[in-house]
């Protein structure tokens, strides 16, 4: 068992989930509360990774973060090394790739908050920030849980972006999905079965966490 790959995968998924929860809550609130027509563009951009092939996204990021672009050169000047083929690069790629999995449930959850409640809060002087933290987050906590778990799972299972952007460097960018691919390529099906079983167990555990936390409670039937 490659514990290093498991630890790296869990670290990547945890960091990505934490960043995306922090980014997606204000972004989703903006999409719900904002009135500008430009928000349609923002929503389309936030959904784009859902329909873009992961290898295409990985390729774009590889080019963008490399020394051929101003962004890439700026990052190299700042960090002293390129983001591609590093753990930090994987985090950037994972955050962008998993963005829709965090934003979509939150937008749905925030949109389900009764507009009359938002009006009441505004009439009582609440600004958008207060509306988000006193109404949206507590009332859409199940959507928040769903967003966090889906982001985590999606990051655990991602392959195309990781391979394009990070390659296969043990301890730095080799995640469980890359490990599984290597094991199958080497006809080591016994090891591949163990790796696949771990990925399956992680997915089932996370989905159970969602459904046990989000199932509506019903009283006893009459």
């Amino acid at each position: 068992m490659d514990w290093q790959a498991l630890a790296l995968t869990l670290r990547l998924a945890t960091v990505t989930t934490a960043i995306l929860v922090l980014v997606s809550v204000p972004l989703s609130a903006l999409l719900i509360l904002g009135r500008s027509r430009c928000l349609a563009i923002l929503e389309a951009l936030a959904t784009l990774p859902l329909v873009l092939p992961p290898t295409v996204l990985g390729f774009f990021l590889l080019v963008l973060l490399g020394p051929r672009t101003a962004v890439g050169r700026g990052i190299i000047a700042l960090l002293g090394h390129p983001l591609a083929f590093s753990f930090s690069g994987l985090v950037v790629g994972s955050v962008i790739y998993s963005l829709p999995f965090a934003v979509q449930p939150l937008v749905a959850g925030f949109a389900a908050v009764e507009p009359g409640l938002v009006d009441a809060a505004r009439l009582l002087g609440a600004n958008s920030l207060r509306i988000v933290f006193t109404l949206f987050v507590p009332l859409a906590r199940r959507s928040l849980l769903a967003a966090a778990v889906l982001t985590f799972l999606h990051t655990v299972g991602e392959f195309g972006v990781v391979l394009m952007l990070g390659g296969d460097i043990p301890g730095a960018t080799r995640t469980l999905s890359i490990l599984l691919y290597n094991q199958v390529e080497n006809f080591d099906y016994a090891a591949a079965s163990r790796t696949a079983a771990i990925l399956l167990a992680l997915s089932v555990a996370a989905l159970l966490a969602i459904y046990s936390g989000t199932r509506p409670r019903r009283g006893p039937h009459a």
Binding site: E114, G116, L117, D119, A120, A121, R122, L123, L124, G125, A126, T134, L135, P138, L139
Partner: protein
């Protein structure tokens, strides 16, 4: 004094109101679809007029030409809607104190107590909205809106879930409280009996226009006749 000269289009509906509400207590009467709730939302700042202005005691709240639009919550205006819209995850006391961030903790607690007592809800302080009856929820909604002590109170048929006696008693206490604090009140209703019984200045809103403004017995004389005819009286 509330001065309103505005126009707003909502689909095929066109609201055009030009009026001065000078009385402490004004009832806007009109049938369903006359534009009563739309007008209240515009006055509260939840929606913006297409054309015109709104001023309260000489202070501009909205002015399309000068591109002024004070946000709701910054207009000294409270709106109590027909649906109480209490925050379901907060207790009654926290709901009532939601708009009192500027007050210290002790002042807030005192104000919440005062407002709950006004609406006869002191015993409901720790309850959640799901544990309230429709009438209780409406009274708490009223207490929450009044807690910041607005200059203008807009009531959108807020007593529909209260029975007649409870509604009358609350109305009496409310009028006394509002009078002491010089809060101008505009109440919207489609019930001619309520409007007539209020004895207040009545504005008759029909198809987006105020067609009459004056004492209830004059503005609603036609409605009174119609009701009496239906009841078979004289």
């Amino acid at each position: 004094m509330l001065e309103v000269a505005l126009e707003a289009r909502r689909g095929s509906f066109h609201l055009k109101v030009e009026c001065r509400f000078a009385s402490d207590w004004t009832v806007i009467f009109g049938p369903s679809g006359a534009g009563k709730s739309t007008l209240l939302r515009l006055l509260a700042g939840l929606d913006r007029p297409d054309v015109g202005s709104i001023a309260l005691d000489g202070q501009i709240l909205s002015d399309c030409v000068r591109r002024i639009h004070r946000k709701p919550g910054h207009r000294n205006t409270a709106l109590v809607a027909q649906q109480p819209a209490l925050f379901p995850h907060m207790s009654v006391a926290v709901n009532v104190g939601y708009g009192l961030l500027d007050l210290s903790r002790s002042e807030r607690a005192h104000r919440v107590e005062e407002m709950l007592s006004l609406v006869d809800g002191a015993n409901l302080e720790h309850r959640r909205p799901r544990d309230l009856s429709g009438g209780e929820a409406q009274r708490i909604s009223l207490a929450r809106a009044l807690a910041p002590i607005p200059k203008l109170l807009l009531l959108d048929e807020p007593f529909s879930a209260l029975d007649g006696a409870a509604s009358d008693a609350l109305l009496e206490r409310l009028k006394d409280w509002l009078g002491k604090r010089s809060v101008q009140t505009i109440l919207v209703t489609h019930d001619a009996t309520d409007a007539y019984a209020s004895g207040a200045e009545v504005a008759f809103l029909s198809e987006g226009r105020i067609v009459a403004l004056g004492p209830a017995n004059i503005v609603l004389a036609g409605e009174r006749r119609r009701i009496l005819e239906r009841l078979g009286g004289d």
